[in-house]
Each structure stands twice: as C-alpha cells, then as structure tokens.
C-alpha cells in the first residue's frame, strides 16, 4: 500500500462527506446527480494530481501498453455497459407491448376485485423489478394502478396501492443479479453468478412479497368485493381494457417476448457460455439492445435521446470519485471503521452491517454506498459466499424503503402519488413505510443469518 499523509486522507474524507450530503439534498440544491458527482469528480481528480496521488496509468491491451488518464480505467465499464445495454433493451422491448399486455391481462383477470388487484399488481411489481429494473417496474405498475383504480372508482385506495408497489420494487430488485445497481456492483465484485444470486435471494423475495402484500391489505383496508352486483359491475369496468391496444404488430410482439426470455437465459448463463463468458454481462446486454434496435433501425436515435444520460454520467463520476478515495486511502479509513463490525463475527457482524447499510442507504443514494462497501469488502479478500456481501446487498436495497429518497423507485412512487394529487410528505411516507421496512429488514436479517451464513 502506498503512503498518504493522514491530512490528505482527511481532506478527501471531507470531500466524500460533502458529496454524500449534496446527494442527500439533491432536490434542495436543484441539481442533477450527474452534475453533483461530476463536480466532485473534477475536484477530487485535481486534488489527487496536486497531492501527487495519481499518474497516467498504463494498461496492456492485446500486449500493447496504452497510457490512459487515471479517470478512464477508474470507471467500472462493465457496470456501465450492463446498465446502458439493459436500459436500451428494456426501452425498445417495451414498445412491443409485452409488459403492458401482461399488466392489462392481470387487471382483467382480477375481475376488478381490489384485493386480487393488489395481489396481482404486487407480484407483477416484483417480477417486473427483477426482469426489467425497479424504476421501470414502478412506472408500469404505478401508472396502471392510477388508470385502473380511477376506472373502478377506487381512487381512495390508490395511495395504499402505490405505497405497497413502491416498497415491493426494492424487494423485487433483489431477485436477480441484474435487478438493481447495488446487486450488479456488489455481485460483480464478490464474484456471485446470476444463478447463485437467484437461488439464494428468491426464497426471501417470495416471503417478503407475501408479507408486504398481507400487511398492506390490512393497513390500507383493501378487501374483496362482498356482493355479486359489485363484482359484476367491477368486472364490466375492467373488461373495457384492451390488452392488444398497445401492440404495434403481432410479429414484433412475439419477437419481443422471445427476446425477453432469451435475454434472461443469456444473462443467467453468461458465466458458463463459451466465448460469452469472456465478454461478460455488459456485452450480452448491449448485444440484445443492438438486436432489438434493428426493429427501429431508421429511428434508433429516438431511443438514444431517451437514454438516461444523467444516470450514466452519475455512475461515471461516482466511479472516479471512489477511485480517488481509494488512492487517498479514504476507503481504508472507512474499512478500519468497519473492521469492528466485521470482527463481531458472521452472526452479529452481518446483522449490524445489514442494518447499518440500510440506514445509510435510506438517507442517501444506495449506489455510492454499495460501490464503496463493495470496494472495501473486496479489499478484505472475502469469499464470494461470505454473508457480509449479502448484508450489503439486502441492506442497500431494503434501506430504500425507509424514506422516499432512499431509492429511485420509491421516488417514482411518490411522484405518481403527487401526480394523482394525493397527499404524501416526507414524514407521512416514513410513518407509512416504517412498519413494512422494519418487518422486511427483520426478515432479511433472519434469512441471511439462517440460510446464507
């Protein structure tokens, strides 16, 4: 390990704290995440150069040494490729109408019964969060909830539906390795494969989903329709939905459906597929996006315009900042702080780390937290089946359910709530979500300690 004076480490620690606080107060600052993190990336790079911490890095590509500025190899391009490819793939695939077809089919299958709708929408939120991503899942299920409950004249139940769906996005986000960014970052660092991740996480997701829906139905008084007249009226109303309306062409629908299935299989088998394992999940995601874009080859630029550049720039800046923190030994300092927790052992230590990660990710973005903790735990040479990895994954995902700013999908849920002119302040959200988050975290701690240790 190189030598860095403690003063320099403290200066960089101050910068890291300032960045985290700025992200926590993102809305007050009226600044996009990418701008905040980008600015801190510029400052930390300059400070690192002034203090002589970084130099151009030489990497070997096909045997040729290439010198790159430090901020290029500092970025985890595999993560960027997965996010860019998956997002583009999902965006283009959603045009085939598959996801809205499923959503409307389930709405009609419920017959307009509020409790059945809650169960169907809850399970759909979890599955969509796992297959797509939690933000897209919340957008699809949340907007459908607004439209269908208005049609059923059940807008008084909409708040409960949206809150439960918002909380379930973060549960569903734990189902697969690519369901959320913290999973991708921590899973990649730990070396957890797609299949292992799914096998280990899915029992918890199933139980947490059932418990969350059950609690939601009780707390928000969402019950089955009691009499035949009400059932018949509700069934007539939802029968008006046409699941085929959003399907541009039957051929593209079938193609999109097949590609979605193939995408999941390809992602799940990356680590065992010859040739592909050399290229990684980022390649698979980008390749599927490219194939889907052939359907819109003449207007592909519309999808490029729709890419969330703020998110991608945020990741780029974040990786640079974390890389600089590594050079300034800030991560070692935090790692030293974590050592007592790790030293508590795999039982108490895992539980404390899970809760600490949840609390931290509830007040700031869970992505920097996951990236930092992954880097720190990676430096400790923990095996890929260590429960500490799972403590970070569960904590970083579920912490988002404690506050409305804890995850992007709960923020989307609150946006839909406000769009429907329903009252929901920061405090109201915390009060409503706290019982769910506490139960989910307690279940997670028990699950990790019993089954993943």
């Amino acid at each position: 390990m190189h030598q860095v004076s403690s003063n320099i480490t403290f200066i960089f620690t101050g910068l890291l704290v300032a960045m985290i606080l700025s992200l926590a107060f993102e809305e007050k600052l009226h600044a996009k995440k990418s701008v905040i993190v980008g600015l801190f990336a510029v400052i930390t790079l300059l400070c690192a150069a002034i203090f002589g911490l970084v130099h151009p890095e030489t990497v070997q590509i096909l045997g040729h040494p290439i010198t790159l500025p430090v901020y290029i190899p500092g970025i985890d391009w595999e993560v960027i490729a997965i996010i860019l490819g998956s997002s583009l793939f999902v965006d283009v695939t959603s045009k085939c109408g598959l996801f809205t077809w499923i959503a409307i089919k389930l709405t009609k299958a419920s017959g307009g019964d509020p409790l059945k709708l809650l169960i169907f929408y809850g399970v759909m939120t979890v599955v969509f969060s796992a297959v797509l991503n939690n933000v897209t899942a919340m957008i699809i299920v949340g907007t459908l909830s607004g439209v269908s409950l208005a049609k059923l004249r059940l807008t008084n139940k909409l708040l409960g539906f949206l809150l439960i769906e918002g909380l379930l996005t973060n549960v569903g986000g734990m189902l697969t390795l690519i369901s959320s960014v913290p999973n991708i970052i921590v899973g990649n660092t730990a070396g957890i494969t797609f299949v292992t991740f799914f096998i280990k996480a899915s029992p918890y997701v199933a139980v947490a989903t059932a418990v969350t829906i059950w609690m939601g139905a009780r707390l928000f008084n969402i019950q089955r329709l009691q009499n035949d007249a009400a059932k018949a009226e509700a069934a007539t109303l939802v029968a008006g939905f046409d699941e085929n309306d959003g399907i541009e062409s039957a051929g593209f629908f079938r193609f999109g459906t097949a590609m979605t299935g193939l995408f999941i299989v390809a992602m799940a088998t990356v680590s065992i597929t010859p040739y592909i394992k050399e290229l990684g999940m980022g390649y698979v995601a980008l390749a599927f996006a490219a194939i889907m874009l052939t359907r819109y080859k003449a207007t592909a630029d519309r999808f490029y315009q729709a890419i969330d550049w703020d998110l991608l720039a945020f990741f780029g800046g974040l990786f640079i900042v974390i890389n600089m923190m590594e050079h300034a030994l800030v991560l070692n300092l935090i790692g030293d702080g974590l050592t007592p927790i790790i030293d508590l052992g795999e039982t108490l230590g895992t539980g404390v780390l899970l809760v600490a990660a949840a609390v931290a990710s509830s007040v700031t973005d869970n992505i920097p937290l996951a990236a930092m903790l992954a880097k720190i735990l990676g430096g400790m040479n923990l095996p890929s089946d260590s429960p500490f990895w799972w403590a970070v994954i569960f904590g970083a995902n579920l912490g988002g359910n404690l506050t409305p700013i804890g995850s992007a999908s709960t923020l989307v849920a609150v946006t839909i709530i406000h769009k429907n002119k329903l009252p929901m302040s920061f405090v109201t959200f915390v009060k409503a979500a706290l019982p769910f988050a506490v139960v989910q975290l307690a279940l997670a701690a028990a699950f990790v300690l019993i089954f993943l240790r």
Binding site: S87, L88, V90, D91, S94, G97, T100, A103, I104, V135, T136, I139, I140, G142, T143, L144, G146, V147, S148, K151, T236, L237, A239, G240, F241, D242, E243, D245, G246, A306, I307, D308, V412, T415, I416, K419
Partner: protein, 285 residues
C-alpha cells in the same frame, strides 16, 4: 429512460369505452305543430308511418295544434302536462322565417334546451326542400356527434329508430379547422415535434371513435339486433362531410346530441348541423 407519461398514455389508450345495449322505448309521443287540427292530423299520420319502428301497441300519440300555444312559456307548459318521451315538430313554429335558412326558430331553439325530451325535427311542411325519400321510412339512420366515444345512449336511440334489416351509420367527423389551428400553435412550440404531433394526434383522434364503433358492433351482434352497422370516421369539415354522406347514402334520419351540460346554448357543432341540414329529419337529443 422509460417515462411516466409514456406508460400512462398506453394504459389510458387501452382503457376503452364500453357500449351497453339497451332498447330505447318511446311510450308517449307528442306532435307539436302550428297548423290547424286537420293539417296537424295529416302530419301525424305521416309521422306514424315514418316512426313505425318505434311504435308499440301501447304508444300514446298526442297533438298540439297552433291554437294550443301562443308563446314559448305556454308551449313548455303544454309539454310539461303531456310528459312525452319524444317530441315531433319542425323549425320556425308560428313564423315565416323558415324561408331563410339561418335559424331554428325561437320555439325549437328553447324546446331543445329547456326540456330533456328528444326532439324529432322534420323538414318544414310548407317548404319544398325536403329530399324526396324523407319522412317515409327509417331504413338508413345516421348517428352523428363531435364525440362518439362512450355515447351508448346516442347509439341505442339510433338503433331503436332503425328499421329491421336497415343500416345504422355510426359517424364521427373531427374538425380539420380545429385540428389545423392546434397544429399551427404546436408548430410554434420548440419543445414539440410538429410532424410527430400531426401524425400521432390525427391517428389518436380517429382511433377512439373507431374503437368505440368496434365495441358497438361486438355487442350489437351479441344482442342479435337485426341492424347493419356502417362506419364513417374521418377528418374534415363536419357539415360538408355529413351533407355528402346524406346525399350519397340517402339517409332517412340523423340522430345527434344537442345539449351541453356546461352551457345553455346548443352543444358544439350541433347548432350548425341543425340549421343547415334541413332536408331530412333530425332527432335532437
């Protein structure tokens, strides 16, 4: 990447208006005329033949002649006494203004707005501008409105007046002038792509009535109603387009909404249609 509005639009578009079939019944029919008893009875006889489709054995026919009312107030009082399900009349009662095609006449104007009863307006008996085939049968009935989607009542009434094995035209003409005016504004907004707006808005405006007509067809077939459903959905100038349809297909009766919950005056383009389409009977709801 995917945004809220995008999916909200998809789901709102998928939420189709449902057509509910219900057989409309007209048990009490009141003919309002400004003529003497003999002439009014002559008109009544012709109207009964014309409306044979809706007439039942128990249908109660009444006639108001020119002597029965001399003001709008007294006419409204007579209507209130009779409590009809359908009023049959013509433009320009107690007036010679029928010679100028610029208005409905004060009686009809108030009658259509002050009562909730459908009013069947015949071509004026003294005028000779009625098309030769009119007021004889209702084999070809046309329902027109500036917003067809979800209007089960309009379709049910049009079906009730259509003779068995006849044709019921469900039509919608989206105003080209209004559409162009909005697009003119959109073309001045840098944030909106004018060509995308033109294409998507045009398609969506016509898709909604088409979807509703499709829903109507399904239910009408299920209910085994012996009426052929015809569709006409387009963008253009409503009075011109409807006039052309009437001529081309020899339409016997037009059915349209005239009331607007938000205003006292006649609904949307209904006034222009009611004034200008004088050659065939109009059923004003």
């Amino acid at each position: 990447m995917t945004n809220l509005d995008q999916f909200e639009s998809v789901f709102k578009s998928a939420d189709k208006a449902v057509f509910t079939y219900e057989r409309a019944a007209f048990n009490r029919i009141l003919l309002v005329s400004d003529m003497d008893t003999t002439a009014a009875e002559g008109i009544a006889e012709r109207v009964r033949a014309f409306l044979s489709t809706i007439e039942q054995a128990t249908t109660d026919w009444s006639i108001l002649t020119g002597k029965d009312f001399d003001s709008i107030q007294s006419l409204l009082e007579r209507i209130e006494e009779h409590k009809p399900d359908l009023i049959v009349t013509y433009r320009h009662l107690h007036s010679a203004a029928w010679q100028w095609p610029h208005s409905l006449g004060e009686y009809l104007d108030v009658m259509t707005q002050a009562t909730s009863v459908p009013v069947l307006v015949l071509p004026h008996p003294d005028a000779n501008y009625a098309l030769p085939h009119t007021v004889s049968e209702t084999s070809r009935v046309m329902a027109i409105t500036d917003h067809l989607t979800g209007d089960s009542q309009l379709v049910n009434i049009a079906l009730a007046f259509t003779k068995s094995e006849g044709s019921c035209w469900l039509t919608h003409v989206e105003s080209q002038i209004v559409f162009d005016r909005y697009l003119e504004s959109i073309s001045k907004v840098p944030a909106l792509d004018t060509e995308i707006a033109r294409e998507t808005l045009h398609d969506q405006l016509l898709k909604e009535p088409k979807d509703f007509i499709k829903a109507c067809r399904v239910v009408i077939e299920q209910e085994d109603v012996a009426v052929q459903i015809e569709e006409f959905v387009t963008m253009g100038e409503p009075v011109e387009q409807y006039g052309k349809l009437i001529d081309d297909h020899k339409i016997d009766l037009l059915v349209l909404h005239t009331k607007d919950e938000d205003q006292l005056a006649m609904h949307g383009a209904a006034y222009a249609l009611a004034v200008e389409l004088r050659a065939i009977p109009l059923l004003m709801l």
